[in-house]
Every structure is written in structure tokens, then in C-alpha cells.
Subunit: 439 residues, 2 copies
């Protein structure tokens, strides 16, 4: 008998790798933050004594969901401006509000609120792009969630930095401060082709190679962006980035709603990761991201919620469902993006985009115990024929019961273990009330 930290017995385990596998009545053995093995119950009981045994007779255990694109602190602007097109929404509402209101405190409480929401909804890792990444990294670290924090770069001055040198310097200081943290990583996050000029993009490409980090960037989100690039640079944004050497497996290309067939081939050839944000694309009427065609071309797919002010939640269950439904709708093919593929994009696909798939994204021995248990025995997701179909087409976020990151329990039977929910919600409303009053 070997003594280990934790055994989780769930009715079903969907490890994501091997593909489409559904295990029943298995134990997942966890020790020192890592998955040791998956074994039938009898074998588990014969081989291990555990510090904690968790029994979930109606639960399905999955790898933690990875939200591959968000702006966590924008949770404080949830519902601030809706039913508007992207450029009007950005330039008349969001950017002025951010200019007036975003400071360290805003980012801190916005990140707290977003992380609380994500943990409660089964997200164990998020890929962030926002101002004050130092604050986001600190809040994430304290919460226990895994995060990839964007070193944002944008041509114009903001409360975070005045010019691209300062953005890069301050970003790299965050990278340096957190480079030994197992759960916090950093990416370069040049905002978008239309907000970052060539010189900083070239520096980012060089630094990304030197530091071995990913690059997180909005790309081909709107027709307007493409037109503007044609006018300013004479080429579409994708071609411009290709000339700058940015189309590599380091690139997380967010949105991709405006793609020509040849551009799909280029992205596939370069190994770029596509991050699909279906609800945000629908809400802002940004266009159709050709998810099925991208997958057929071999482009790896991840899923993100985008920020809460264009969604308006950070719910990866809703996002998986929307991705699976929208792919069918857009192609008029009901077989497009089947349930398993949506789940894979929301787990292992995200890990690959973040270049952390050697440590998370599936339930495999040796990987970190980033695990989520979902209770299927509720009226809206019962009875069960295929647990994966339930996860994508019927489960809602509140059915997440338990969440572990590196084996640390962050949510137990629906209750946060480390975060003070009342305090966070009250602080969020206090900030929002001041914003609403225009104080």
C-alpha cells in the first residue's frame, strides 16, 4: 500500500486523451499535485491509501477547462454597453470608460471577480490580455488558478504605459517576477494589428524567441480591421504579420473571423493556433470564423470567452456549446465540430495554444492534477447516454462541483475554498456603481 494525497472516484472520467474515451468507475490517483494514474476502483483500493478520498457517484471528471482568450478585469464592465457593433462599442463606450476608470484597484477587483466566476464554472486556466498584468498575475497566484498573463503592448499611451518601450519593459518585469511560478506564465500580448505598429512587433518576435513565450493577439476580428490594413499597409493583416515573421506556432491568433481560403492554408502551414470566441463574435457581429475549414486544414483550435463585456460571462460550458452549435449553423452541416471536438478544443487545444500541453489539458499520468468534476444528475442533463454530449449540449456552469489545480482544491461541492465571494461581489458592485453614476 502506497500513501498518496488524493483519489477521486467519479462515475465517469473523460481524459480527453485518448480521444473520445469515456472511463467508468475508475479512480484518479493524485500525489504532490500530479496525476499518478487512472485505475479501476478495486485496484486503487488495493494499491493506495489516500489523504483524501472524493466520491462523486453522479459526476464526470474532466480536465480543467482552459479559457484561451479573455480580459479578466473587464468583468467590471459586464453589461455596461450591449447590442452595439465592435468599433462603436470600443471607441464610444469601452475605451472611454477604460480611460476614465481603469486603475490598479479596478484591475485587482475585476480579476478577483473574473477568477471567482471562472473557478466556479470549471475553468482552471485562463489566457489574459489587459492592463496591469502584474496585478492580474498577483491575484491569479493568490487564487490558485493557473494563468497565462499577457504582457500587453499597444501603440497609444494608457494608464499602464506611455509607449511601446515602456509596455515591453513593464511586461518583461512581470515575466521575470513570475518565471519560477508553476501556475503563472506570461505571453507577449500585442493588442491587434491595427493598434500595434511594425517596430514593436519586430521586437516582440525577437523577445518571444529569446524568452521562449507565446504571443497572444487579436487578429482578423472585423472586416474594418482588414480594410484599414489594406489602406495603411497595402496588405491584409495576416500577410503583414507573416512578413514580420510572427506567423509561427508561438502565435495565438484570436478571433479569425475574416479569412480567405489561402490564408487558412498559410496559418496551417505556419502552425499558428486559432482561438475561437464564438459568443463574442456573434454578439459583436464580427463575422464567421471558419472553424471547420481551419480544423480540416490542420490548424489547432482553442476556445475563449473574450472579456465579460462582449459575452457577457466567462462560462466555458456555454462557449463549448456555442462553438459546437455555431460551427453547424455556419456550414449547414450538423456533423461539424461534434461534442468531443468542442471539449478537446476547450481543454487540450487551449493547453497547446498556451504551450503548456506537456503539463495540463488532459487527464494523463504525469500531468498536473488540473481537474473538474461536473454533477450530471440534475434535471437538465439527465438521463445520461453519452457524458460528453451532456457536457457540451446540456450542462450549465453551476453543475461544476469540484475544481483542483495542481491537486489543490479550489472549489468543493460548489463552494470556493480560497476566495471570499461576498467580499468580491460587494467590491465589484461598489466600483460599478461609481462607474454608472459617472463619479
Amino acid at each position: 500500500m502506497k500513501n498518496i494525497d488524493l483519489i477521486i472516484y467519479a462515475r465517469w472520467v473523460v481524459p480527453v486523451r485518448p480521444r473520445e474515451e469515456v472511463l467508468e468507475n475508475m479512480g484518479v490517483v493524485v500525489n504532490k499535485g500530479k496525476i499518478v494514474c487512472l485505475l479501476p476502483r478495486q485496484e486503487c483500493e488495493r494499491c493506495y491509501t489516500a489523504g483524501e478520498v472524493v466520491e462523486r457517484p453522479h459526476g464526470v471528471l474532466i480536465p480543467g477547462l482552459i479559457n484561451a482568450h479573455t480580459h479578466a478585469s473587464m468583468s467590471l464592465l459586464r453589461g455596461y454597453a450591449d447590442d452595439l457593433p465592435l468599433m462603436k462599442w470600443l471607441s464610444e463606450y469601452i475605451w472611454p470608460a477604460e480611460a476614465k476608470w481603469v486603475d490598479e484597484r479596478f484591475v485587482e477587483f475585476g480579476a478577483e471577480l473574473a477568477i471567482l466566476e471562472m473557478i466556479k464554472g470549471g475553468t482552471t486556466c485562463f489566457n489574459d490580455m489587459y492592463f496591469f498584468p502584474d496585478v492580474v498575475a498577483r491575484v491569479a497566484k493568490n487564487s490558485g488558478i493557473r494563468a497565462s498573463v499577457g504582457m500587453i503592448v499597444i501603440d497609444f499611451p494608457t494608464v499602464w504605459a506611455q509607449n511601446s518601450d515602456e509596455y515591453l519593459d513593464k511586461g518583461m518585469a512581470v515575466h521575470d517576477a513570475y518565471r519560477h511560478e508553476s501556475r503563472i506564465s506570461t505571453t507577449f500580448a500585442p493588442h491587434a494589428p491595427y493598434t500595434v505598429s511594425d517596430a514593436p512587433l519586430e521586437r516582440i518576435r525577437m523577445f518571444a524567441d529569446e524568452l521562449d513565450v507565446q504571443i497572444h493577439m487579436h487578429m482578423h476580428e472585423t472586416e474594418h480591421e482588414v480594410e484599414e490594413s489594406l489602406a495603411q499597409y497595402g496588405v491584409r493583416p495576416l500577410e503583414r504579420l507573416d512578413r514580420l515573421g510572427l506567423l509561427t506556432p508561438r502565435l495565438q491568433a484570436i478571433h479569425l473571423t475574416q479569412l480567405l481560403p489561402g490564408e487558412i492554408e498559410t496559418l496551417a502551414g505556419r502552425g499558428v493556433h486559432a482561438v475561437h470566441c464564438p459568443q463574442s463574435n456573434m454578439k459583436l457581429a464580427s463575422g464567421v470564423s471558419p472553424v471547420s475549414a481551419m480544423r480540416e486544414a490542420g490548424i489547432p483550435l482553442a476556445i475563449g470567452t473574450d472579456g465579460a463585456s462582449s459575452n457577457n460571462d466567462l462560462d466555458m460550458f456555454g462557449e463549448m456549446q456555442s462553438a459546437a452549435l455555431m460551427a453547424k449553423h455556419d456550414t449547414l452541416n450538423a456533423e461539424a465540430l461534434p461534442a468531443f471536438d468542442a471539449l478537446e478544443a476547450a481543454t487540450l487545444g487551449g493547453a497547446r495554444a498556451l504551450a503548456i500541453d506537456s503539463i495540463t489539458g488532459s487527464i494523463e499520468p504525469g500531468k498536473a492534477a488540473d481537474l473538474v468534476c461536473v454533477d450530471l444528475k440534475q434535471a437538465a442533463s439527465w438521463p445520461v447516454y453519452h457524458p460528453v454530449a451532456q457536457l457540451v449540449y446540456a450542462v450549465a456552469r453551476d453543475q461544476v462541483g469540484d475544481v483542483w489545480v495542481e491537486g489543490e482544491c479550489l472549489l468543493k461541492e460548489g463552494l470556493p475554498c480560497k476566495m471570499n465571494e461576498d467580499y468580491i461581489l460587494d467590491a465589484a458592485q461598489e466600483i460599478a456603481s461609481r462607474i454608472a453614476a459617472g463619479e
Copy 2:
């Protein structure tokens, strides 16, 4: 001081009529199942003593949601077959399973499960089409929910009836048995143009006028349906139904994913109700329902989930969100179907389609107290700028705390008052397990 049954004090009240109104800190006064008035708290306290006072300091009170198209008992086939196109899904999976498995017990427990799910999700009324409407009506009556039960008619024999005469006779017996029940109404439910021939449709039109009931019918759901009609009848289904005199304000036209501009004009001119099922249309890749164009033409809009096996839940919050997002996506116009309009379609629009808008669908004095209170103070829907945006873009079904129908409490702080949840879930799984085993 007048003594009445119930006062509900919610932080916000969205009565739906007047349009876009959001009331704060009001009391909704209920007596003998009806809404008496909406008054500021102080006035309420001065004028009324109540048998029960409900305080919801973070709640938004809305009219109960109306699911304008479902097949309740198909909840037992939730997740039975997914990621398939409509005709393959129907003819190779659903119809054979129904032929083998549907009996009174299936319909009874399927309806129990569906009604439990709907009540927990804030739906106070559903418009059903399925076999054994007598069983559905009985289960609905016992549960306390409001229901419109379809007197199904289909050309081919099923376990419910052998021919159109028998369908009509058995349906009308249900109508007769429930005609004095305030919460149960009936509609004629000819399945679809491709499954019901002219003679029964002509009889249905005549009987509907005589009995003064609505007609509930799938219509222009797929391109295949339109092509088949052209081949068989020489005209598109809509024109055929128009010639048969069925295009009137009695008609609830479900789906409408295949419409020519002239057909939109025809539907508007005839006063037909459109029932939009966005998630089902996406999942089955049925096509684009031109919701914005229909609304501009003046066609009244309702929203339905369709059955749980093509959705896969009966969640009207998810459906409102999908309707609002999909309308923007399909038109590339982020202002299409704004949040309030989605909420209106899911409440008053449903009541109009069911011809019960004089008694429900909005919070107005004299209407039935069909009310739902939603808790907004949860991480995913907080802070609040505009409660209606939260309801459509951020709330999930589990935030429904309280549900009343005709003033009777069916859900209190998330717990069903009249239904035995464990018993229903266990019975559902027992039936599903036999189906999965092919016994």
C-alpha cells in the same frame, strides 16, 4: 389595510409591458392567483397585509418564461443521438427509438422530467407537441405549470393513433377533458407539412375555428421539406398552407428557416406567429431563421427550445441568449434583436402565440401571477448595470430562485415545491438505461 395573499419585494421588476421598463424597489401584490398592483414599498406596506411576504434584495422579478415549442417527453432521449442532420437524425435514430420505446409510461416520466427542468429554469408555461397529450396534460396539471398541449396529428400510424380521424378524435377528447382548467389549454398540432396531408389539415382548420384554439406546426424547417413539397404539391409548403386557409393568427409556425422575402410579407399579412428555436436550428444545421427581417415586417415572435434531444436542454435563458446572439451573427448587425426584445419574445411573445396574452406574459394588474425571480448576485452576472442585459447575456438557469404560476409557488429558493426530484431522475435513468441496452 387590505389583507392579500402575497407581496414580492424584488430589487428590480421588469414587467415587460411597458417596454424596456425597469422598476426598482417595488412590491408586486398578488391575490387569488392574480397580480393586483405594483407599488413602491412604502405604499405597499401602508395599504396591505399579506399572508406571505417574499424579500429578494438581489433578485429581478420577471414574467414567467414561455417555451413556445417543445416535445417535453423527449427529455428521455436527451443525448441519445447528436451531431447529425435533421432527416438522418429523425429517420435513423429518433423515429425508430420512438416507435420502439414510446408508451404512456415513457411520456409520463419524460414529461415529469421536462416539467421539473422547466420549472427550475424559470419556465411557467410550455407549448407541447407529442404523443399521449392526455398524459402530458395530466402531468402538467399535477405539477402546477401552465401548458398548452398539442392535439398531435400525423399521417402515419403511431402508438397514439392509427389514422388522422383517430388522432383528431383522441385529441379532441383531451381538449374536452381539460377545457375548464385555467392552466391547461390545447392546440391542434399537425406535425409538419411533409407529414400531414390536405384532408386532415382542412378539418383541423375548421375545428380550430369552431373550438377557438391555436394551431401548432413545424414549418419550413429544412430545405429538404421545401423541395419535397415542390415535388409533391408543386408549391412550397407555405403556399400550400395558405391555399388551405391555415395562415392566420391561429397559426404558430415553428422554425421558419427557409423563407423567401415574399413569404415574410405573406406571413406578416396573415398575422401568423413565428416561433424561433435558435439552438435546435443550429444543432440540426437547419438554416437561418430571418428573425430580424420577420420582426421588421411585423411578424410577432416567440421563442422555443424544441425537444431536449435536439438542443439538448429546455433552458429558456440559454435560448434567449442564443436568439439574441444568432440574430446579430446572421445579419452581421450587432444591434439586431437587443436584449429586451429577446426577453419580450420569451414572455409576452409566447403568450401571444398561444393566445393567452390577456392572462399572462407580462407583470400587469389583472393578469395571472406567473412570476419568476432570478438572483443576479452571483459571480457570473455581477455587477449589474442593466438587469435586462444580465438576464439575456449573463444569467444561467440555476439563478432562478422562485417560480409562481397563478400565485402558487412551484419553486422556492431553488427547490421544487410540488415535484419529487429524486424520484423523477431515478425513473428517467431507469427508462434510459433500458433504451441504451436495447432491451
